[in-house]
Assembly symmetry: C2
Homo-oligomer: 225 residues x 2
């Protein structure tokens, strides 16, 4: 289906992959639906190579993973996406030309296609409804490829450094003073326990210096009333 | 977009999730496109709850993850999908009601929505084209949820146990005998080395007993000629 091919191209671009090879696309090629669905991944669609059958599409590929939902009656190693893409990334880093192979959404890959793969990869789905959309299978494997190559962490946001303990203590003393002024602690024997809880609450908030200044500004404003 | 809602429902069903809450869907509700795209996930569409704004949709949710592509100017913990869904799965296992929040595909979640989340989660995409399809973001986070809850391995295929070393040696002796009969090794000093390589090749093939029987059958048939 053109839509599936276009969506697969788009998600390849999302994860930084670009070599798309198509085997006997059902609705011919080029395909208007594929072009529309690909959005910003037009270059991948333009550069896609089309083959009448699978074998020539694998020219140059040294290690091939095949995505399949159903374990078949076939003696072939099967890994989870995490394990499989970690291995593929290691092979790729050592210079091997690696490929990921997907079948048509409804039927999946045939046994004669799976035979050509080195390893099968199966996405752990709900057994009651294992039929994943094709482009979503592509998304999950491309995601695992990127996790295996780019590391686990997205670029962290520029977090403000946390406030120092003396800034927090200063705020807390200020707060305690104001609470005492307004006679907040009506039952004296509960005062200490309540103060501990309040202090704890503000500690958990992981405030930065600006947060502390803001809260002290509020206290100052309230204290004036 | 109805298509995105339907595709998200389908992938939720693929990974065994079912509680869908919608906030002010653009094209109203119910939505024909959502129903069509959801395929076998009709129950999730039927049971979906619709809210005019975000706050009431979060009723009962104790821990909220928000998917966002862009680190914002916001002091909030941000994790990779793997880390975030591992933590969510742990909280869920301890009885906390957990939610995953996604924004509209084009604009993403607004800062005022992100404030309500406990943790931000960012999918590591190609910075040149970070715009993931909404349902594919849902797919990747649902996949990581299932990996965190169901373990790393898909149910393994029923692999035949490997052939014993004596079965393989028996085959290899048979092969060597036939190769000698047909005078395969024309250069005697290369014989041993070639035999080693051939033996190695069949060792790497990780044959099972049936494979060995098949190969021996072939040798027997060829030996008769």
């Amino acid at each position: 289906m053109g839509e599936n091919i276009g969506a697969a191209a788009r998600v390849m671009h999302n994860f930084g992959l670009n070599d798309l090879r198509l085997v006997a696309p059902r609705d011919g090629w080029p395909n208007q639906k594929a072009t529309e669905t690909a959005r910003n991944a037009q270059q991948i669609i333009t550069d896609a190579r089309v083959y009448p059958e699978l074998a020539p599409a694998l020219t140059g590929v040294q290690y091939l993973l095949a995505a399949t939902a159903r374990p078949r009656d076939m003696v072939k190693r099967m890994l989870s996406p995490r394990q499989a893409l970690k291995e593929l990334a290691e092979r790729s880093a050592s210079g091997q030309a690696c490929g990921l192979m997907f079948g048509p959404e409804r039927s999946g890959l045939a046994n004669e296609d799976l035979i050509l793969a080195d390893t099968l990869v199966s996405i752990p789905v709900n057994p009651e409804y294992p039929s994943l959309n094709l482009a979503q299978s592509v998304a999950i494997l491309c995601y695992e490829w990127r996790m295996a190559t780019e590391g686990n962490l997205p670029s962290p946001p520029a977090l403000e450094p946390p406030a120092s303990k003396d800034e927090i203590s200063g705020f807390f003393s200020h707060l305690t003073q104001i609470l005492d002024e307004v006679d907040f602690f009506k039952v004296p024997e509960k005062r200490e326990r309540m103060l501990h809880n309040i202090h704890n609450l503000f500690t958990r908030a992981e405030m930065n210096s600006q947060d502390v200044r803001t809260l002290r500004g509020i206290l100052t404003a309230l204290g004036r009333k």
